[in-house]
Point group: C2
Chain length 89, copies 2
DNA sequence: AGAGGTGCTTCAATTTTTGTAGCAACATCA
DNA sequence: TGATGTTGCTACAAAAATTGAAGCACCTCT
């Protein structure tokens, strides 16, 4: 499961998530949104671009494949919120 | 998104995945299945148990919450396979 | 007693991540 | 023209995480 290896790296899922719904973010905006240091962000972006999940054309955005990933991520995010909510109780 | 932080650690998604469909694995079986060194596996298991995703009662298995996570993970796995398949072409 | 399985723990070496700083290129405004 | 802001990074040393191999203590079965 190579995709799990890619997405299981620190910040990878988070970066994809921050680019949901067609958002286009600059490197610095992603820096703030994903709460990562620049070195890590740059490493992740390189990996995600090599995997054809993220593209850079004047700001970072998801590729078509990345957009499919977001759809696949939706249930996970819903679980995350339920999980976080149950922790608060 | 705290769940992304938890699941974004090395091996976390993989461990959950290996325990899919009600599988009960011993520590050593998980070691081999998830391809992790024992120290890392132990750390992850502690985190996943603290998050009430994995339980240990004579072998490791998913909790009810972990089972819900697996359901939420299914689309992601389908995406992974499609992604891996397209890499092979 | 011996052989096998269990869940770990330990350790040093390597890899990864972090946080801060700063650079070079470009646009904007004066 | 120069000053200012923004861009995408890179550099560096320190801290944290991961690795891989070894081994320990405990249990069970023969």
């Amino acid at each position: 499961m190579a995709a799990l290896d890619l997405l299981g790296r620190r910040g990878a899922l988070r970066i994809v998530w921050e680019l949901r719904e067609g958002r286009v973010l600059t490197f610095r905006a992603l820096l703030a949104a994903a709460e990562l240091p620049p070195g890590t962000l740059n490493t992740r972006l390189a990996e995600l671009r090599a995997a054809d999940v993220v593209a850079a054309d004047g700001g970072y955005r998801l590729t078509a494949r990345g957009a499919e990933l977001i759809v696949a991520l939706w249930p996970l995010m819903a679980w995350s919120e339920a999980w976080a909510a149950s922790l608060r109780t």
